[in-house]
Point group: C2
Chain length 382, copies 2
Amino acid sequence: MPEPDDFVVTPYEVRGHIDYARLRELFGTQELSAELLAKFHHLTGGDLHPLLTRGVYYSHRDLAPVLDGFANGKPFFLYSGRGPSGPLHTSHLVPFDLCQWLQRRLGVPMYIQITDDEKFWARSGLTREETVFWGLENLYDILALGFDPKRTHVFFDSRSIAALYPLAVRVARKVPYSTVKAVFGFEPSTNIGLVFYTALQSVPCFWPSWAEGRSIPCLIPCGIDQDPHFRVTRDIAEGLGYPKPSLLHSQMIPGLLGEAAMSTSGDRPDNALFLNDPPEAVDRKVRNAFTGGRSTVEEQRRLGATPEVCSVWGLWRTRFAESEEKFREVTAGCRSGALLCGECKSQVLERVHEFYRRHAEAREKVKSWAESTIVTAAPKAL
Amino acid sequence: MPEPDDFVVTPYEVRGHIDYARLRELFGTQELSAELLAKFHHLTGGDLHPLLTRGVYYSHRDLAPVLDGFANGKPFFLYSGRGPSGPLHTSHLVPFDLCQWLQRRLGVPMYIQITDDEKFWARSGLTREETVFWGLENLYDILALGFDPKRTHVFFDSRSIAALYPLAVRVARKVPYSTVKAVFGFEPSTNIGLVFYTALQSVPCFWPSWAEGRSIPCLIPCGIDQDPHFRVTRDIAEGLGYPKPSLLHSQMIPGLLGEAAMSTSGDRPDNALFLNDPPEAVDRKVRNAFTGGRSTVEEQRRLGATPEVCSVWGLWRTRFAESEEKFREVTAGCRSGALLCGECKSQVLERVHEFYRRHAEAREKVKSWAESTIVTAAPKAL
C-alpha cells in the first residue's frame, strides 16, 4: 500500500512538504522534459528564461503542439491572471515574468485576467472597492514587467464583462454544479457568484479564437495549484468548438516563514515580499526569513546548508540571481558552507532593493497606458 | 391531518387543480383586499384595470406601502420580465397589461428584463441565437401594448450585462448555493449559469435606487409561480441597503387544453394562442379549446356550464371582454345555459382576431424605437 501523501495542493489550499514529482502523477500532467526545453531554446533564439533553466516550471499539459505549431507558423497566445485581494508579492510575478519573456521573444499576444469579482466572492472580508482598487494596482505591477502595450489585452472582469459574458454564457451551460463542487470542494454555503466564476475564468482561453473566427491555441503559464480550474476548461473546450488550452506549471515558491508557498492569507504578511513594502520591511522580512542553514556557524561551515528548503534560495532562484553563473555560485556556496546565511541575505537584499527601485520607475510609466489595455466590448454579438 | 394538496406551483412547474386561497397560505402572501383595490381606484383616477376587478390579480406582498407612498409623493417603479424561449402567448401579457395601464395612469417608470441568458441555461434544446431572436421578438410584442418610450427601460440580459453586472456581483455574494437549491430544486446536474441566474433577476429591483442614489420602491406584477424568485431577492435586499420589492401576484390562466396554466412547454402548442399564430391556427385552437360546457346542448341549456374551469372564459376574463358589462353577460349566459360554447367561441374569436390585427400594427410601429430602450451602461463604476 502506498504511503499517504503529506501535502495538499488545490486552488484554495497549499500545505505540507510538496513532492512535485508525485504531484504531477496525482494531477496527471506531463514532465517538462529536456526535449521540450530544447524546443523552447530553439524557438526563442537560443536562450532560456531562468525560470525554465532552474526548474521552477517543471510540468505541462500539451505544450509540444503549441511549440511545434508556432515553429510551423501557427500563432498562439498567452493567458494568465490575478485575483486582486491585496498587493502583489514577488512570487506572484512568476507566471508574468515568463509570459513577458515569451511575448518579447516570440511577439505573441498576452491576455491578462484581473478577477476582481472572484476575489469579492471568495473573500468575505473584502469590499468591492478594495478588489477593484487592488485590481488596478496589481495591473500596474504586472504591466511594469515590460509587456508590449500593443500586444497585451486585459480582462478586468467587472469592467470587461460585456466582452466576456457572451462566451461565459455558453461555457456555463456546459458545466454542471457537480463538477465545480468536486473540483473546488464547494459547500452548500458557497455563494452563487463563486459557483459561476469558473465560467469567466475559462473565457480568455477561447476569446481570441471567438473574436477572430479561427482556432488559436492558448498557453497558460501558472502555478500548478491552478491546474484544476483549467481541467474544467479543457473538458468543455472541444464541445464549444475551441482548442483545449495548454498549460505550463510552476512549482510553488516557498514562503519566507518556511511554508510551502509564499501565501499571505491567514494574516501572515511576513511570509512574502510585497511589491509595495517599504525598504525597511523588505530588510526585516529577509533578515527574519527561514533558511536552510544550520544552528551554528561552525556547523554550517563544516556541513553546509540546504538550498532546496531555503526561502532565500527561493528568491535567488525565481528572480534575483542575475545570471546562471551567480545562481550556481550561490547554490554551491550554500551547499558547501562557504556562503553563510547572513552574507547570502545581504547579497540578495541588494538585488531586491535594486529591483524595487527599477520596478517603481517602470510602474509609474505604465500608468499612462494601462487602462487602454482593458477590453470592454465584445467582438461580435453572440 | 390536512389533506395533501393536489397541485404544484413553482417557477419551473405548474400542475393540478390549483386552490388559490390555499396557495397564498402556502406561500405566505397577503390577499389583494377590497381596501387595497380601493386605494388603487383612488390613485388611478377612479377606474380599475379588468385584471384587478376580475380577480386575476389576487395576492400581494407589501403592496400598501407602495400605494400609500405614491399617494404621499414618493415615486415607485414597475418591473416585470420575460424568458424568451419562443413566441409570446396571450397569457404572457397579463403582467405587462397591468404594468402598461399603471404606467399610463401614474406616469411611473417601467423596467423590463429579457432573460435570454436564463432561457439558454434552462432549456438545453435552445441555441443562443434562438433566445436572442425571441428576446427581441418578445420585446416588440411587449412594447406594442402601449408602453411610453420615455419611461420604459429594458435589461436585455446579454446586451445589458455591463449595466447589470456590478450590482449582480454584490447580490451573488449574499446568496448561498443552499438557498437556490432549496428554492428552485436544483440538482447536481444543474448548470452553473442557472445557479447564478437569480442574482441577475434580482438586479432590476435595486437598479433604479442604485442609479439614482436614493431608495425607490419596486413593484413587480407577476404570476404567483414567480414568487419564489423574489423571496430570495426580498431576503437579501436590506442587507444591500435597498428596499424589499413589493409583489402583485396573478393567478395562472388556464390552458386551452384544460390544463392549469397556458404553458406550451413539453410541445403542446395548441394549449395557448401565440401572438404569431396565423388566423387559421387561432380559429382551430379556440374551436378545439376545452370548455366548462356539458356533454349535450340539451343538458347545457338545462343545467348551464361552469365558467371557472373554462379556457375560453379565461380568454374573456384576461383580455377579450371589452367591458365589465360584456364580461358579466358572458359569465351569466354561460352559467345559465343561455350562451352555448360554439356561440361563445365565435364571439371571443371576433375579438381575438381584432386584437391580433391592432397588435400587429402597433408592433410594427415600436420597432423603430424598441432597441433604444435597452440599457447598456452602468450608471456608475461600482
